[in-house]
């Protein structure tokens, strides 16, 4: 049986269709009251679906397929990975289509309405650090995609579950035993994967934040103290642009937005072993207290 929901994930409205019970269950667990009956939202930005693959793969080693409108941009995955596929499909959808906002491949969290961008490649510990901050007084704007308004240069929340991998799964479960976790998607191309919903105050769901810092993090288990290197604006721009999905397609607006972000933010490389050290550094050295 196929279920269809409107899912409110500001600044976008999704219509999600699925015939896979695992997807429906995890959608409700992680998005809670953001999952609404079909037709509730006044407009839909993106129509997406995760369905059983057809033909032989419906029954033999069953697979799930992701669709954006009528297109199938991703290769099918094992049925047990269907919810992770929905999340990755949402990422693909925004990265491939969004031209109203500058999209940066980056975690982004805020405190006192001052946001820090964390652009980083896979394996840098970004998501684990984001989870730690999100459950310790910081507001998650996004674990994966920073959405920047090209007119105001502010970060807009696009808060979705945090994607944790492999060793981080047990760590996060020990840190936040009562938090809403998805089922585990085993043996994906990223290893074992789980999604974790971060706490979110209703009042903050739509609240933008000024970007105060750009921090390029790298997890290093072999160091004792956090190591911090400040970047000049040219270095920061060079690295930030490498992580920006669509600024070149937005032409001058995208370029102007990125340069403005770099001008208004302090930028750093950090190597860390303990996420608590990152939190202390940000709160003591980067945020402004009025």
């Amino acid at each position: 049986m196929t279920a269809t929901y409107d899912v409110l994930i500001p600044p976008f409205n999704f219509r999600v269709q699925t015939d896979i019970a695992l997807v429906e269950q995890n959608l409700h667990t992680l998005y809670g009251q953001q999952v609404l009956p079909e037709g509730t939202l006044p407009f839909i930005d993106y129509h997406i679906a995760v369905r059983h693959s057809t033909g032989l793969r419906r029954w033999f080693r069953p697979q799930a397929s992701f669709f954006c409108d009528q297109h199938e941009p991703l290769k099918p995955l094992h049925l047990s990975q269907a919810f992770a596929m929905l999340e990755w499909g949402m990422n693909w959808t925004i990265a491939a289509h969004e031209l109203q906002h500058v999209i940066v491949h980056s975690g982004i969290l805020a405190k006192h309405n001052q946001a820090i961008l964390f652009p980083a490649p896979p394996g840098s510990g970004k998501s684990t650090m984001s989870a730690y901050l999100a459950f310790n007084g910081w507001r998650l704007l996004s674990d994966e995609m920073a959405v920047i308004d090209p007119e105001t240069f502010e970060a807009i929340p696009f808060a979705r579950p945090i994607c944790l991998k492999n060793k981080s799964i047990d760590l996060a479960r020990s840190w936040f035993p009562d938090a809403p976790f998805s089922t585990v998607a085993k043996d994906t191309h990223k290893g074992d994967v789980i999604h974790l919903s971060a706490p979110l105050n209703e009042d903050d769901r739509f609240a933008p934040a000024r970007i105060k810092g750009i921090v390029f993090p790298k997890y290093n288990p072999d160091i004792t103290d956090i190591q911090i290197t400040q970047l000049n604006q040219s270095q920061a721009m060079h690295e930030l642009a490498d992580n920006a999905f669509n600024f070149s397609l937005m032409a001058h607006r995208g370029f102007k937005a990125l340069t403005h972000v770099v001008e208004q933010a302090d930028s750093y490389h950090i190597e860390y072993r303990d996420a608590a050290d990152v939190k202390a550094f940000l709160e003591q050295e980067v945020l402004e207290y009025v």
């Binding site: 604006q233 040219s234 642009a241 070149s248 032409a251 001058h252 370029f255 102007k256 340069t259």
Partner: protein, 82 residues
């Protein structure tokens, strides 16, 4: 900027960083972006020197060639000016 603009191709935007660490150029036609670790004044000076065939350092020459190759600046005005 006005001096620098005589070298730029149409559709090229320039942003000199306020910390004077460098200048970033963006060509909206090719969607190429290039960060050079020269201030805007220094960049203008290097391009002027190149156009007048004043010898440049290896780094400066390399940067000018990159700017030409990546279609941020016109080669012809530089040659005409020389």
């Amino acid at each position: 900027m006005s001096q620098l603009s005589r070298f730029l191709q149409a559709g090229v935007h320039v942003h000199p960083f306020s910390d004077r660490s460098g200048t970033v150029l963006f060509n909206e036609k090719t969607t190429q972006m290039l960060t050079v670790f020269f201030t805007q004044d220094k960049l203008n000076q290097v391009l002027s020197d190149y156009s007048q065939q004043i010898p440049l350092s290896a780094d400066e020459l390399s940067m000018v060639k990159s700017l030409i190759r990546q279609e941020f600046i016109y080669q012809e005005p530089l040659q005409q000016a020389s």
